[in-house]
Symmetry: D2
Subunit: 336 residues, 4 copies
């Protein structure tokens, strides 16, 4: 039984992680922590846990943590995370970090997009980007996983076969994505007040979204050359899910009929990536760790659509998938 601590358990990715571990046959929750102001009995903090999780969410105490857990799902926000991760590693835990702090390999890029100096570059160097479909082997032996952002997960899975095969121009990729509102977190705000967000849809983060350099870094690594991606997120009136519509310029002639085949082969052994024969729907993946993809051509371009649940495959589900890999468990445990 893997003993799991959830650090930063009071947000949406925290409770999603709690729910997944509660259903996991070979993992158990042993420690739940949060900021003091957000602590309390888990069932009081999250009404949906009533009768299901008789535990306190308490302020993090490293003495208590040491020896009490094998793995930490670290659901802290960026900047805060890099203050805690070194101590979690010191305490002997395998750490799966949900923040952006260990995703961007170049601290200067990090500092530019997050407006803060990186204070843990030592661990940054050894963190593994936790997208199992691409980096499973590295994940196996890792102590520290940088769990991917929700948008990069959806966008990358949609196009890595194209990048790997060199089928598309790498300077003109456009990622148009729409996320559900849970992506904005649990803190109330005017924008996401129900009477404002309901029946609404709008773009944000134009040209500046922090997931853009993350996508580009991994895409470049896969392509073997610098990839430029214009990433444009939107938010729509639903709880969960990200639909990414990725527009690519083919490099030379592309046989569109072979694209599905290429994707089928590329993802043939991947349980959580399903290649569809029509446009995917976010509702089909909501509450699951699956990514549904459809790739086709239109007007001389390749369009690849992907749908994921931002809180599952885009966060807590993928984290548990990573945890399963690290501990040598069946990768889908607790996730199907």
């Amino acid at each position: 039984m893997i003993r799991v601590a959830i650090i930063g358990a009071s947000g949406y990715t925290g409770v999603e992680s709690i729910e997944i571990i509660l259903r996991h046959p070979e993992a158990e929750l042993t420690y739940l922590t949060a900021l003091e102001s957000e602590c309390g009995h888990a069932e009081d903090v999250f009404g949906q846990l009533k009768g299901r999780c008789d535990m306190q969410i308490e302020p993090l105490d490293f003495d208590k943590l040491r020896g009490a857990a094998d793995a930490a799902l670290c659901c802290l926000p960026h900047k805060v995370s890099m203050e805690f991760v070194p101590k979690l590693l010191d305490a002997g835990l395998k750490v799966i970090d949900f923040s952006a702090d260990y995703r961007l390999k170049d601290p200067r890029v990090y500092e530019k997009f997050y407006n803060v100096k990186h204070i843990d570059t030592a661990n940054l160097a050894r963190a593994v980007f936790g997208l199992p479909e691409l980096f499973r082997d590295k994940i196996k032996g890792a102590d520290l996983i940088a769990n991917p952002g929700c948008f990069p997960t959806g966008a990358l899975l949609a196009i890595v076969p194209l990048l790997k095969e060199g089928l598309i121009e790498t300077d003109s990729i456009i990622v148009n994505a729409v996320t559900g509102v849970s992506g904005a977190g649990r803190n109330p705000s005017s924008k996401f007040h129900f009477p404002n967000m309901n029946e609404n849809l709008f773009a944000y983060g134009i040209g500046t979204h922090r997931h853009m350099p993350e996508m580009e870094q991994i895409a470049s690594e896969i392509a073997g050359s610098e990839v430029q991606m214009l990433f444009q997120p939107h938010v729509g009136p639903f709880d969960r899910g990200i639909l990414s519509t990725v527009y690519c310029q083919p490099k030379g002639k592309v046989d569109c009929k072979k694209l599905a085949e290429l994707y089928d082969e590329f993802y043939c052994c991947e349980q959580f990536v399903q290649i569809c024969d029509a446009a995917p729907a976010v509702k089909d993946v909501a509450g699951t760790n699956y990514c549904h993809i459809f790739v086709t051509c239109a007007k001389g371009r390749i369009i690849s659509f992907s749908a994921i649940d931002n809180l599952v495959k885009g966060a807590s589900g993928q984290a548990v998938q990573n945890m399963n890999i690290i501990f040598g468990l069946e990768e889908s445990l607790g996730l199907s």
Copy 2:
């Protein structure tokens, strides 16, 4: 042209009032006020007004107000309202007050339910309860209208014909109501954060809702004896509308087939009250000043259903209806 000032223009009933007056053929906006922290150009405060309302929302200045408006739609919250209303009256305006401050005739009841001492009992005495279908004649000559609460509007219209005719027991009326989220106002909160409220439904204000004594006061006035009402509100995942399901115990035998006829007669000349031959739907009245009612019997009880838009017939629309009456205009101007 009636010159209208909207006092407290930065909330949902404020902007609804603005939109109605903008479409009103014989009224015009001349002054918009709000708390300093909520001021600004109307188009910046409310994106939907862009290109439609080239006015500032500014802190209330009574010197400026005097002579600039004939009527005030006073959209302030309770307690604040009674500080301003006397001055609005002094400035010579007809005042339609949206708060609860002038609705409850007995200051002790007010003080019990609102936990604050009434400081303007003089005007309280002469305020008219602004439900035109019941009190049109008094409204005509009034300077100060207590615009009804949204729930009382829906619940009362559903049952006044029964009360007037003495057809129901007055100690066992149950009003079960579900409101859209705009009823909770414009300030963000955890409860009404989109990912919490979306796909949700729950009860609140159990046995304590402030609209209960208001319903009872008017119902008692209509019935000519004390009426007890158990009012139970709920909030559901939609923007606008209140569906009231009112359960009544018939006094003696009631001919259920004649109920619709009774309602048709009672409301025969009322444009904004429509008697339906099936259960009303909140969507049919959303954005309108209409109240749809269906009355029938089931299991020995009379059930009356009513649907209104909480922001229109339940607030701003009814206020303009009252304004039209006071100024001798056609009652439906700007509302159809």
Copy 3:
């Protein structure tokens, strides 16, 4: 491993049952059937099953069924069900029937509310009403379970402690309920077309809903005398969940402070019934087999609120709970 056949797998309760059995550690799907026109690969019929359920949904063939399954979750509509259930029993299966065909003990009541003659009164007599919290002992030895209706599940759990203790008048119970749209089934119709149902809320089945006699039958059995219930359903703009608000007249004086205690005791050993200290929210139980209850007093009445997921505790989850009991498994397997 219990081998499970799902009869009528192409509807919402069918796919919910499939999903639950897929996660169940000691049960497996062995046969999925539907009307010929609704057959196909499970992943094509339900997009959310892609990669998760490599099975055909096929027309029911009793020869094939015999020996292939230990239990049948029979998700057929009323009337159709009683044609199939005798054959399922003959094939040696334990049958959990989702329809109303085996719920109403008096065939005359059935025939009155369902407008059809009962053709399997022999099995009707031995069917057990599958509400585990009330009838666990009978369920243990049963071959045929009449899985309760969604509304009766929510309404009954809300008030059985009161009925059992004789604390309320039995001729004046009012059940006001609001269900999500999945309760209306998978067939498209004007009423539930998205642009009509979205942002909408309305009552239906006034005085005639078929779940009313079902509630009354069980309530009467618990109370030991005839119980009259006025049941009024509504449908609101969300997928899942039923909120029941039940109004009761206390018999004599009731100590309201002791009600919660009474409920705590009554349900003390029931995992799936949670007594809350505030009004329950449908979102907290969505996707779970839990029932959240809050009981209190207001204006001289007892009000009990319950929230369930209509497709889980109100259908497929409760069916699996019953199946677990019949087969001697831990009652919550696959459900937490």
Copy 4:
């Protein structure tokens, strides 16, 4: 008073047209028609019209129509429309046609995308594309208006200033759009059944949507050379609105800071086009005839966002705007 007939009044654009004309100070409804199976009293066909529109919707009788109306808002579907429009014109009416039948100037393109032969090429030649912001002068003298499609309205308004100034490459425009569900019409279907569409989002019409050639035709006319547009529509869980996100490749260097200025000038006198300084929200334009636009640069591309209500500026509102122009009325009558 302009007398208006609505041909095909039983759909969503029909009732939207009815509502607009009901509020129009210088137009009146004189005739409402529909297929026989969809006829009835207007208030029975559309619950929201109760008490507001005491008229029958009846089968079209040209004898009755002649002399009874000055203008026809023809809300028929494509193919049906071109059977009726010649007769409407013969009856002496000004016709604003909502279908695609008179939009595509080249009958071969029409026949390719709509799979039907054009049977009224004579009138096709003289029909004017009814986008007032571009073709106001031609509209003034027209007898027959081809009211633009909803998607082309949003997409074109977003980029015509760029096309007119020759600032963008014309072979690489990508229009990513998300529409509300009312765009799919009033007929129920599995896809738009509430429990399927709610909380959902998906793409459709990939590379084949019929609004693509319409956009390209007008864009080419504006640009003075052939324009290629990749148009990708999606549908999201809301009633009204289209958000278009248009990605363009600048031709040479573009001063991004001057784009807003360019748009302000281009649309300076257009009431219904508002240039915003941040991303527009569909909710801000819902229920209005406004188009909100924001243009900016990101990653070397120009992105222009536009939001409209698909049923108003995208259909009935624009039709009335056209009608106002034809009859020499103030263009915004009934629309503000």
